[in-house]
Symmetry: D2
């Protein structure tokens, strides 16, 4: 998905592609002043050594991005690749040292590239849940614990910590703790840094976020909502691990109860089907009750490509958060909940309401309000 | 559907059923003062001679309403049946005379039952389109033409005319002209009567009214949206006639273009499948394009019972329009567009936005604003 | 399902219902001489104390059998209920004693009712897998082990043992071991008793048994076949237990590999959705490859009622196996594989081929061949 | 589809592709001696002037054939293109003269290329139905009529006539009359030429040909079977013309009644959705009745590429018919019904039974029987 985002950003900057899929291109947001695509500089940490141009070719072969585009952008992709640093997996213990190195890389990147601001976006695979710890309550306690041998933060949180230490804003596009730990929230606030999360809303949950309100607005009672997700690709392989899937399923599960106001029987599966490649097919079956107890049903099948759906949202978020940083906002940016399955700081999941909130917020940035 | 509405209203009044499906029962509208279910009196014109209690039994056999309910309400249903008048089909020519008779029945009903106000709701089957006429532009011209031999108004419009002449408000729950003729609009305005329409949004179009905005809000381009509706029951039989279906299909067709802002290839079929009885099964296939031109798809199958979905909306509309009448509103009530496929006076089809408009309007009634 | 089978058999015997769903009514089998419905006598063991007439009423309320039928058959159902014996759950240890009691009940039933033959049909819920044991290899060893304290046979197998000891034929309509244990096979053979199994093929697997051959006959390569089963009712509750589901999933899983000749990635889920009641909804998604590597897909949604689908098959099997017993057949009746997900003694799952084998076998019974 | 067939045949001959999708590669037919792929020579008549190599590139861009394959086969495709003759549309009148020119081209092709036998395959778009004529009954009458000014034969039949006159066998892969005219049947018989048809069974109807027998074999009564076909591509454009679609729909419609033995309410639509390109999406909804009148349903969505599904069947048919010609068969080859929606000379539509008949027939060719 990171590759798709970079290919797309370069293509848009060079007017080789239109802006379909970019929310910041909608009429409601088009007046907001945001960083230009031409001014974005990409870098990153990656555990996969495959060079970016080659990853783009693989995506083209899989039909995710146009082959011609990858060819035209080959030199630019090689340029971005030189700014990507391959990193080893998180070692046991020595978390503080590891975080310091991330912060160092971020500062160096900003200085070298002459960037005004850096937005760190976590687009790693879903990680398993990490037990909460008393050290999460307080920054000093946290840093003490990070010096110890036991893992205190999951990787997403460690990156959030490092980002905040380096003066960067942070987006958690995956499920998991990320910046949602009290001590990290305090750190962001103290350093005047905005952040957003979590878990990009790109497919089945996107559809849910309009269908659940539909049932609610017609006072139709949802009786059960069963979902099956067939995933290929790297994400599918990760989620075949039940421990990682637990985080994902929890993230997807909040919407129904919070939107409908009652609990619904909602079994949810994620299956790894390598054959599907970069595509995902989800089937949902909703049984509902109408007037005088009558039973009816709705089912849908969504066939989409997560990286193509997520990539423009990542770009939207990076631009919006950079602007929020410039405008002096700090802490969790709840109006960005529009983009997420598990929005921080709110139980509003209705897409229409989320959009209104987003527009109001973005417009206020513009005016420096 | 009228039978389901009456059974349901009696059941709700006597606390034999809960209010699932009634929009006026939602928290957002629950503070609005509306006529009580206990105070509603039902009458009507019907071309079908089957007594109401027997119609209710047929619905119970078909699984649309609970058998036990029909048994408990037998006496009440017989009471309503005595207030239903069987009417002959509209004769060729003599339209003004026919309308006068309808108005007379309406006045007599209001006086005999001691009703404060009467709401006329058209729930007849879809009628074929009628060519517009110069006589539609002006009330005097219209009444002259109604004295002639050629048909000037379709039946739905003739009932709207008769309702307005009798001082009643009017709801058109089916597609077709109804009150949407300039001369009739003038008459309603002149008599201080509110009206609403048209074509109740109960199934496939309801789903469209949330999915189309979803694509729009994510800047995903809809490339085609094909729909198939399998209908049994009387409505299916009527719509098997292509002339009648033309009105229905036109009514369903506005939403996509007006919501998305561009024209979409959207073939739409209605098939009569008698075997489905009172149920309808609709399948929609949406092909859409995301970032960098990627093609994806969504399909859904809706399996619902139109009369069970429509009946509570008819009750909602009757109560809301009676209150609007009491509050002195006249003319087309655009904020009731929430209930319709083809909302009068607006091109807003997004369910969420329609609901906000409805709540604001209903709340203003309450305060007599 | 047992209740549906009894209601249906009584209704067919009294000509209150037609024979839809009964395979033995097909033209290809209609010439075979089988026990008349009028001559069938039903009895049984049940752990549920609910009287049969009440169970039938519950099914009528759930829409599975016609209410009028249950009313007309009330006396007959009470008569069958008197021949049903409530049994305690299998105690730990004392398996031989328990089996002897079953055999005793079977003999007494046969004598009291004056039946020529008794067919024991296991329609209990799915049981968890039981580890195989060396005692399974040999009848003497088995009976020695049955005297001991450790469980040696699952309940389905204990009933098979008891049936064979009592001179009854046996059908295993559920997954699990049943008669598929060498020592039990020997016992059936020695006593001249036929048996059949296992796991009635009623829904998703039925569809698979025609679609998988379709892909094979067109040389289309199935790449993945994902299935989700949403089940309400008692069966759903049982299968919510992963241990029981293991048996079911294993039973369903044989078909693809054995029909296609290669292994397919085929994740399969069973979810308990109480709201669905006696109905089951299954969704399958098949990805396949055609000429020059092109990828295509097929998906289907099956919405059926297992007990209505299974009941006529149970009656078919009882009549066919009684006739096979009369005709002197013993051991596993492989041509009855047509009825089963997990057919004993064969890897033929193609429905068409299974039907041909069934007809040939049944016709040979008729001629006493 | 012709382009896909040629690309595929060249690829198989040069071992650049495997034989997925070719029925003649199945174990049951692999022993039959058939013309080698290396020995096939392709030519044709086409109304479209686009050169074959360019058409292959367009297919590659659309994802129907691999881009690499088209590149590797460029020279061979140019070679085939030189053997394709562009033809003008059929003029009014002068049909006999037009047919003579076709026959001449066929003879010249055979002589120039040194082919033992030529198989003419009609893969043109669906043509509108042509009224039957008394001249169809008799060859002499037909030829007299062909000299006149009124159209007597549709284009498919004119090609069949020309093929038989030139000593070539004929396959009608599209709906329409083709060789199914008594005078043409007599001509084929008289000249010792075999022929087959009509309308390749590639998608929705293929699935029907296994699902309809499934319902039949379980004595489940199909109550309605509604189908919707969304087609892009040239075929969709043609079928958007209701006159052409009539032939297609009639061809698709025979299967249900002939397989089930009773008439089923089966509305069927074909919609042109250009956006779908070379792909087709079909949705079928089947309502059926089981034991004691219970209603259930099955629905499926097929997403396939007709040209990729049809191309290998065209190659199979060409090879099988060439061999039948060599083996001295003449007249309609009913056992080839396996390949067709509207099989000539039989009402057998069950795929399994059709395959058995095909294997028996092909095996008998081999032995020269």
């Amino acid at each position: 998905m990171a590759t798709t985002a970079v290919v797309g950003a370069l293509a848009v900057a060079q007017k080789l592609a239109d802006r379909t899929g970019l929310v910041t291109d909608l009429p409601g947001l088009s007046g907001v002043v945001l960083p230009d695509f031409e001014d974005l500089v990409f870098g990153g940490h990656d555990i996969d050594p495959t060079p970016l141009p080659h990853r783009a070719e693989l995506l083209a072969d899989a039909g995710v991005v146009p082959t011609a585009l990858v060819r035209m952008l080959a030199a630019d992709l090689a340029g971005v690749d030189r700014r990507i640093r391959r990193v080893p997996p998180l070692p046991a213990g020595r978390q503080l040292e590891y975080a310091a190195r991330i912060s160092h890389d971020l500062r160096e990147f900003r200085d070298r590239e002459g960037c005004d601001r850096v937005v760190v976006v976590n687009v790693a695979s879903t990680e398993p849940p990490l037990a909460s710890s008393p050290a999460h309550a307080d920054l000093a306690a946290l840093e003490t614990a990070l010096r110890g041998d036991s893992p205190v933060l999951s990787l997403s949180s460690l990156y959030a910590y490092a980002a905040f230490r380096a003066g960067c804003s942070f987006v958690d596009f995956t499920p998991g703790a990320g910046a949602r730990i009290p001590a990290l929230g305090d750190l962001a606030e103290a350093n005047g840094l905005p952040w957003a999360g979590s878990d990009g809303k790109t497919g089945e949950t996107l559809v849910k976020s309009v269908l659940a309100p539909m049932f609610a607005l017609r006072n139709l009672r949802v009786r059960s909502w069963a979902g099956t997700n067939l995933l290929g690709g790297g994400d599918g392989a990760t989620l075949a691990d039940e421990r990682a899937a637990a985080n994902k399923i929890a993230s997807k599960g909040r919407l129904l109860g919070e939107t409908l106001g009652y609990e619904v029987d909602a079994p949810l599966h994620i299956d790894y089907v390598p054959d599907l490649g970069d595509f995902k097919t989800a089937w949902d079956h909703i049984s509902f009750e109408g007037f005088l107890g009558l039973r009816m049903s709705l089912q849908f099948t969504w066939h989409g490509c997560d990286s193509a759906l997520a990539a423009p949202l990542v770009l939207d978020l990076a631009r919006l958060l950079a602007q929020a940083h410039a405008a002096g906002r700090s802490g969790p940016q709840t109006p960005l909940g529009f983009f997420f399955k598990d929005p921080v700081g709110t139980d509003e999941h209705r897409l229409g309401a989320q959009y209104e909130s987003l527009v109001a917020w973005a417009t206020s940035l513009e005016s420096g309000a």
